[in-house]
């Protein structure tokens, strides 16, 4: 079998990827030098210095930690609820017909409306912030899980029933492995969407976190500070993606490859 190509792909992708980042930094530097307005277009090294200062003062870790906590809490809630709803709707046509209109409406409600209403109805607190973010993400996870559930293999379902496998064993060994690619895609798409919404939530109603800091820096038109916080957190999220989500996805897909 000719399955050598996928294994070598990540390596050949490194070089152009790295070069494109270098190119973007160069372009940014040129623009910063030409415009020569450090107040609105700070140079990359100015932003890098700010990130360094934030990291050494410890401020970065506290606020990034608060934001990360909100991201992970709402991510966990959204994945759990979305997975359960998607499985339920994918398995039962009746449930799907009843819940689908609500799902379509939920998918189209602007994130900002959910956030504002959560703060008004629940209060300006942590629970409201996390609920608002989770509510924004649940419909997307539900839709992706539902599509995966509809594509479940009926022959394996028959096998599981013929051998009287328990509900839990069926979910764990028959259903979830088939849903894994959909769940992984929902998780990857979800975590990047969620951290952007978390920032809005913090901007509007929290007194710590990256979004709160950006709020303060916005009032003083400190562009270098805004960029420093944004890039610092992008690095945190990329580390999670590369260090946690991707290895997990690779592990879950091990059975597809021929390594003996």
């Amino acid at each position: 079998m000719s399955n050598a190509a996928p294994a070598s792909r990540p390596y050949s992708g490194w070089v152009p990827g790295l070069l494109s980042i270098v190119l973007m930094l160069a372009l940014w530097s040129v623009v910063a030098l030409i415009t020569d307005r450090p107040q609105t277009t700070p140079a990359p090294w100015t932003v890098a210095a700010r990130i360094g200062a934030l990291a050494t003062s410890g401020e970065l870790w506290f606020h990034a930690g608060m934001t990360l906590f909100r991201v992970l809490a709402s991510f966990a809630i959204a994945m759990a609820v979305g997975l359960a709803l998607g499985l339920w709707m994918g398995r039962s046509r009746l449930v799907d017909s009843w819940l689908n209109p609500a799902l379509v409406i939920a998918l189209n409600i602007p994130a900002l409306v959910v956030i504002v209403l959560a703060y008004i109805w629940i209060g300006l607190n942590e629970a409201a912030a996390i609920t608002a973010v989770a509510l924004n993400k649940i419909p997307v996870v539900t839709v992706m899980t539902r599509e995966g559930t509809r594509a479940l293999r009926p022959d394996l379902d028959d096998m599981a029933r013929a051998f009287r496998m328990s509900r839990w064993a069926r979910l764990r060994h028959v259903v979830l492995p088939q849903l894994a690619p959909h769940v992984a895609a929902a998780a990857r798409a979800g975590i990047s969407l969620i951290w952007k919404i978390v920032l809005v939530v913090e901007f509007l109603g929290r007194s710590n976190g990256v979004g709160f800091k950006i709020h303060l820096l916005f009032s003083s038109f400190d562009v270098a500070g805004v960029l420093a916080w944004a890039f610092a957190f992008v690095i945190v999220m990329l580390t999670i993606d590369l260090g946690v989500l991707r290895p997990w996805e690779r592990r879950a897909n091990r059975w597809r490859h021929d390594e003996a």
Partner: protein, 194 residues
């Protein structure tokens, strides 16, 4: 295992007519008939996969099914494919894999096995469930003659050793003879046993 069927229809179209079928431990029964006659439908009813029929299915026997295709879990190792659905322990699974000619393949995934090996694994899985009656749905169709012969011999030996009964569905009139099974013919519309 005892089935008293009054009828089975799909969307108003009667597929199976009134028939009764009884298979016990040690019995070997083959149901013959052309494709599309309702053989697989009958087997699905017996296996408990299709509860929407008019009639009664009784008996507390343990059943295990060998499907037309291997129907293995691609994301679990060969040994887990035996242990997870049947709940048997590791040594039993390994012993059965030796028995069907797959020694040392425990850690491999199904796609690393040939189709013939996958079918033998599926046979091992069915026997791991320690069935009183083994249900088989055209398990030797789409195999080349030599592989089919080996599979049939293996199935017969395993049935001899375990004492399990057999309910086989096939279109090939030679298979029942080679397995020592009593042949029943399914024919007519709606189909009945003759």
């Amino acid at each position: 295992m005892r089935l008293k069927l009054r009828g089975k229809s799909f969307g108003g179209r009667a597929v199976l007519g009134p028939l009764s079928l009884e298979v016990e431990r040690g019995d070997r029964v083959a149901i013959l008939g052309p494709s599309g006659i309702g053989k697989s439908t009958l087997l699905r009813i017996v296996a408990g996969l299709d509860p929407a029929f008019d009639g009664r299915l009784t008996g507390a026997d343990r059943l295990a099914t060998v499907f037309q295709e291997p129907t293995l879990l691609p994301w679990r190792s060969a040994r887990d494919n035996i242990m997870i659905p049947t709940g048997c322990d590791g040594p039993t699974a390994s012993a059965l894999m030796d028995r069907v000619g797959l020694p040392g393949r425990e850690a491999q995934y199904p796609r690393q096995l040939s189709l013939g090996q996958q079918r033998r694994l599926s046979l091992a899985r069915a026997f791991a469930a320690r069935p009183d009656v083994l249900l088989m749905d055209e398990p030797f169709a789409s195999l080349d003659a030599e592989t089919a012969t080996r599979m049939i011999d293996l199935t017969r030996d395993l049935l001899d050793d375990s004492g399990a009964g057999l309910l086989l569905v096939t279109h090939d009139p030679q298979e029942p003879a080679r397995l020592g099974a009593r042949a029943l013919r399914l024919s007519g519309t709606p189909a009945i046993l003759g």
